[in-house]
């Protein structure tokens, strides 16, 4: 293929590489929809500030082909090898070993979060994304795609012996009038397909991992899950409570993506896939993982990469934001709901814990100290997992409870410091006037402690605001998750990043102002001043 001579390739690499099917000398290839705006945006990201030589040269020189993938719930694509858990295996891993071998290099797996792999590719941490990434119009505008290495379909899965017989059955409402709730991997083809079909009878619930969706469906938290066929086949033994429902639906192609500048690498990989498909090597790999089917015979029929449809209008900039702003605002409401739902609870629980630790009986102090250490010492994400997948609370309840519990431990320590900072004489004077200890706390000590802790507590509130993004692991699509979904599905990485940041700022700045205002007021009136 073209691009083999190293010298000519390095000359071409400073600008978007022409598609191999297009022999042209124009700077911008006619079929590419790259606009000046996206080029400027990419430059603004400063991920690739200077021209790089085509990655193929580096691969050949370094004898290593690095590819990005996510082994979380990654069977049969790429997952920890059961025989040797520190190494990774899977049909894509084996395919990449063959492809790298064809280039005289060895393949190196690089872990990344699935829906962020393309961004990491931009950051040059690896040179190709290989992880069940579907060919899409949007992605092929901003990245180079190879020919397909697998033709996937989507498989509906549901609890064994359920009433649903096929995807078509979901177009009738449930007996109780509710919508069917279908779990999908966020940003996957199943997400896109289900979203298009969603409406009065189907509600899409998005998970960060394919197996999370299966687990929640097996738990009975959701009705069904829509999965890529390979994952459905691979995990059917691990989720005995689930069965495949009806024939697979939809269809699409898994492709390898490279950066736009790395046409030579893309072409080399493309050629390699063609060779593996023709030689029957791919079939041997797929049969080993139980994912071969007749559909895959078509793999040999591709002559090269799938070309993006020409002339299709693609929105950028303001237009993109205008079209999707409703989704951003909905997600902002989720963020606000989680924050304002959980912070008052966290403050109340925190105060109770602090009071218990300072004035409670000995056994309670020990218990509460253990509570604080346990909650503080474990990640929020794990706590959300327990509330959602083990206790099986609804996502909103789990999200608010998780954030409230997690932050209550921090608030408790802040309040404890605040209570200790109130001079002992205040409590003694109150007791000497005949107040009960509780009245003295309520009327005299706590009001003064609260004034002291306003700045750190509002600081924590702002932190919590942004920590709500962790709730995406339990299907709540808040602002950060929505950004990720929109950026991935539309390619508007910069536009949505700016809009999302602006919304976060618009929401957290008033809090900062309140914090600073309260600090100023405390400064002016003295640490122990303030209105009752």
């Amino acid at each position: 293929m073209e691009g083999e001579p190293a010298a000519s390739e390095s000359d071409a690499s400073a600008r978007p590489a022409p598609r191999p099917t297009t022999s042209t000398t124009r700077r911008v290839p006619p079929r590419s929809s790259s606009s000046p705006l996206i080029l400027a945006a990419l430059a603004a990201l400063a991920l690739a500030p200077v021209a790089h030589a085509d990655a193929l040269q580096d691969v050949r020189a370094g004898k290593i082909l690095r590819y990005g993938s996510d082994m979380e719930g990654g069977g049969p694509y790429a997952f920890p090898d059961p025989a040797s858990p520190r190494s990774v295996t899977g049909f894509e891993v084996e395919m990449m070993e063959r492809l790298a071998g064809g280039l005289g290099a060895s393949a190196e797996f690089s872990q990344g979060q699935w829906d962020k792999l393309l961004s990491v590719l931009d950051a040059r941490r690896f040179d190709a994304v290989v992880n069940g990434y579907e060919w899409t119009e949007v992605r092929s505008r901003d990245y180079l795609a190879t020919r397909p290495y697998y033709i996937y379909q989507l498989q509906l899965m549901g609890p064994t012996g359920g009433s649903i017989g096929s995807w078509e059955d979901l177009k009738r409402p449930r007996a109780d009038g509710r919508r069917w709730r279908v779990g999908v991997l966020v940003g996957s083809a199943a997400d896109v397909f289900a979203e298009e079909e969603a409406g009065s009878t189907i509600e899409v619930v998005r998970f960060d991992g394919a197996t999370d969706a299966m687990l929640a469906t097996q738990n009975g938290q959701y009705d069904l899950t829509l999965q890529d066929v390979p994952a459905a086949l691979f995990y059917k033994d691990r989720f005995p409570g689930l069965e495949a429902i009806g024939p697979p639906v939809s269809r699409g192609y898994y492709v390898i993506y490279t950066r736009k500048a790395d046409a030579a690498l893309r072409d080399a990989l493309d050629e390699g896939i063609g060779r593996l498909a023709a030689s029957g090597e791919l079939r041997r790999i797929y049969e080993k993982y139980g994912i071969w089917n007749d559909l895959q015979r078509e793999l040999t029929e591709f002559a090269g990469p799938i070309a993006p449809a020409s002339g299709q209008f693609s929105a950028r900039g303001w237009e993109l934001l205008a079209r999707y702003r409703g989704r951003l605002f909905d997600a902002a409401r989720v963020t606000l709901g989680l924050s304002f739902g959980s912070m008052p609870l966290a403050m109340a629980i925190g105060l109770a814990v602090a009071l218990g630790r300072m004035y409670g009986p000995g056994w309670l102090r020990g218990l509460l100290a253990a509570y604080v250490e346990l909650i503080r010492g474990t990640p929020l994400m794990l706590q959300l997992y327990v509330l959602f997948f083990v206790l099986r609370l609804p996502p909103w309840v789990a999200g608010i409870a998780g954030l409230a519990l997690n932050y209550s431990a921090y608030e408790a320590e802040i309040y404890r410091a605040g209570l200790q900072a109130v001079p002992r004489g205040q409590m003694e004077a109150a007791l000497a006037l005949g107040m009960s200890r509780w009245t003295a706390l309520r009327r005299i000590v706590i009001p003064q402690a609260v004034r002291l802790v306003i700045p750190p507590v509002s600081n924590d509130f702002i932190a919590l605001f942004k920590d709500t993004s962790v709730c995406s692991v339990i299907t709540l699509v808040e602002l950060t998750k929505q950004y990720s979904i929109l950026a991935n599905s539309t390619g508007g990485v910069v536009e949505f990043a700016a809009a999302t940041a602006a919304i976060y700022l618009a929401m957290s700045l008033p809090l900062s102002w309140f914090s600073r205002w309260s600090e100023r007021r405390l400064g002016a009136e003295g640490v122990k001043g303030g209105l009752a």
Binding site: A430, G434, Q448
Partner: protein, 248 residues
Amino acid sequence: MIVVEGLVKRHGVVEVLRGVDLAVAKGDVACLIGPSGGGKSTFLRCLNGLERFQAGRVAIGDLELTAEQTPAEHARAARRVCRRMGMVFQAFNLFAHQTVLQNVIEAPVQVLGMGRNEAVERARALLDRVGMADRLDARPRELSGGQQQRVAIARALAMGPEVMLFDEPTSALDPRMTGEVLGVMTDLARDGQTMIVVTHAMGFARKVASVVHVFGEGRVVESGEPGRVFDAPAHEATRSLLAEVRAA
């Protein structure tokens, strides 16, 4: 009206009070004097239950604090005692987040359940009596030490206590402010208020006290009318204390 018998207080191995017997009658102004570390303040804090003790008993009318009470029993008894005994602290301890008026009405409203209007009316009268009627809306930090202490006296008086305890009320004040506070206390004594005063202000003790108790090393070493104690001290500890005061 107050009878203390065999009061023993230890902080760890340090014996702060080593068996104190003392009685205060209605209308008495009892001044407790003695060297620092003699246990005077601790004694006062045992009287109203701010501190527990290891042996002995304190009887205030029909109420009793004993070493044998459980913490809960002691807290309950102390609360009842505190409704009948006001206390004024060396560090004033005004409620820092409240105004002068709020400080004075707080306990009558919260503890006695008094209506707000009545409480305010009484507070105004008391603050007038201590010369602070013109600073009702001031915050404690805006007041001088002497002003704060006069508000603290009004705050304690607002509960209508049978006995007022003063714990070195002028030790944190300069001479002029000391004069203001002692003036208020002298007026109170003249009006027949029963008072127990821990103080280093010997002039006040000599002039106002009906009885002086001299504390030394955790005991009451000498008691008597101020004229007798100051002019003809019977105990060595008293003599050295008075010599120190004169030298200072």
